[in-house]
């Protein structure tokens, strides 16, 4: 049974369609990448899954599904008096969980323990994004929603985050839905890919779903674009 099934999802904002007739599903232990140009409705799709956005259609989550969410950015005031440790303990989880203590999750995303005493508003955007990734895995979620989780993270950090994703998916059978602009990441890590540009352009295994035609439809780049992707793919 899929952990998440979306059927004919449509969203209208200010009387304009933002998403039209999106349908896909994802299983346990699967990484699904969502790609599409800016303004394609990717973040809106996440907000609909979270329940923060009104929609038509169906979003069916398996019973008891816990979600870990990493937003694209968190708009924090610099002097927000909340330490990293406090922020990490704001996520509810059952009982004492040594595997997901603030120290442990920080280690998982490759950050030093000393950061626990810092205020979250003072972190660099890359540090904050890694903290958000750490935050999302506390309490054993079944489904992770990552909105460009590595947009502000340096190259070494990006590797850590994607390796972590891969490990979590392997060890705990998590389902991960990942918005990414980096097609090499999609080819390397994703089991399935969903391309949207307001309406659904493709859905399936990356090597089958991402044909030159589909990519052309998605980004309007055509053949030239495809060659670039092809190279990236081979390099990996």
């Amino acid at each position: 049974m899929p952990i998440l099934e979306v059927k004919n999802l449509s969203v209208v904002q200010n009387r304009r369609p933002v998403l039209e007739e999106i349908s896909f599903s994802t299983e346990k232990g699967e990484i699904l990448a969502v790609i599409g140009p800016n303004g394609a409705g990717k973040t809106t799709l996440f907000r609909a899954i979270l329940g923060a956005q009104k929609f038509r259609g169906e979003i069916i989550k398996a019973k008891g599904t816990r979600i870990g969410y990493v937003p694209q950015k968190l708009d924090l005031e610099r002097d927000l008096p909340v330490t990293v440790r406090e922020f990490l303990t704001l996520r509810p989880h059952e009982g004492e969980d040594k595997n997901h203590s603030p120290e442990r999750v920080l280690q998982m995303v490759g950050l030093q323990e000393i950061l626990l005493k810092r205020k979250i508003g003072e972190l660099s955007s890359g540090e904050l994004q890694r903290i958000m990734v750490a935050w999302s895995v506390i309490g054993h979620p079944d489904l992770l929603l990552f909105d460009e989780p590595t947009a502000s993270i340096d190259i070494a950090g990006q590797g850590t985050v994607y390796d972590l994703l891969h490990r979590l998916q392997d060890e705990q059978g998590l389902a991960v839905i990942l918005i990414s602009h980096d097609l090499s990441v999609v080819y390397k890590y994703a089991d399935k890919v969903l391309c949207i540009n307001r309406s659904q352009v493709c859905f399936g295994h990356p090597s089958e779903a991402l044909s030159p035609d589909e990519l052309g439809k998605l980004y309007g780049g055509g053949k030239k674009f495809y060659h670039h992707i092809h190279d990236t793919h081979e390099n990996n």
Binding site: R66, L80, E86, R91
Partner: protein
């Protein structure tokens, strides 16, 4: 002023200031400072109705505040209008209605408060309400903090941010209604904003921030009420001035 009256003033003032400071620490997590200040003015017609029809003005104030916050909360979620626009409209409407309903003398007391005229029962009610506010804020500490920092994250862990916002606004309304006797409608915002803003300048963590907000509230109230007694002044405005001095002192301690 009799010693018992002074004690009543001191107890009620400190309790309200502690609760107000704590409310403020949460309100300032989401730039709600001026919204909260304007919101408090909605109490005015309620106080006026209480005075005209001889029921407790606190009750009138709370009913109007609860109604006002409910209207603002509902319209905000239905229309996505910015909350400060809504508060601006509702609070000036309420002020206009309040001004029509009250006499000049009543308006002055409602605007600037007078805690020295409180009875033993008033004091007990103020302390009890403050206790309930502090209890609720500590009980929902994690839920409120997360919801005020990011409603989307709150939603993602299964909380109901809209309902938590309504609960927080109701607690806010309760605190404002309880504090109005002390500082009046015009200065009530100071009980909520100034101690929390002071604490924020020096607190190294959320925990210390919440407790320091309550502490600066109580300190301002105690010093203010004693100073007001010695110099024969109204305690409300003196509290605000003392709290303001603490704030400017804390600015210098702020780590940039």
């Amino acid at each position: 002023m009799k010693t018992t009256d002074f004690l009543y003033t001191l107890l009620a003032g400190s309790a309200i200031a502690a609760a107000g400071g704590m409310i403020g620490s949460f309100a300032l997590l989401r730039r709600m400072a001026l919204v909260g200040d304007a919101l408090s003015h909605i109490a005015l017609p309620g106080i006026a109705l209480g005075l005209i029809f001889h029921f407790n003005p606190f009750l009138g104030a709370f009913l109007f505040l609860a109604l006002g916050t409910l209207i603002i909360w509902t319209v905000e979620h239905k229309t996505k209008l910015p909350v400060d626009t809504l508060v601006g409209v509702v609070f000036t409407l309420a002020l206009a209605v309040g001004a029509l309903l009250s006499t000049e003398e009543e308006i002055l007391e409602a605007l600037f408060g007078d805690i020295t005229s409180i009875t033993g029962l008033d004091m007990l009610v103020a302390v009890l309400i403050s206790f309930i506010i502090v209890f609720l804020l500590l009980f929902y500490y994690k839920k409120f903090s997360l919801t005020l920092i990011s409603p989307d994250l709150s939603l993602s862990v299964g909380y109901k941010p809209h309902m938590l916002e309504l609960l927080f606004l109701t607690i806010f309304a309760l605190g404002v209604a309880a504090g109005i006797k002390f500082t009046g409608v015009l200065l009530i915002g100071s009980i909520v904003i100034i101690p929390a803003a002071t604490a924020r300048n020096i607190a190294p963590s959320m925990r210390s921030y919440i407790w320091l907000s309550a502490f600066f509230g109580v300190l301002g109230a105690v010093v203010g009420i004693f100073a007001a007694k010695i110099y024969g002044l109204a305690p409300g405005p003196v509290f605000v001035i003392i709290a303001g001095i603490f704030f400017f002192a804390s600015v210098f301690l702020r780590k940039s």
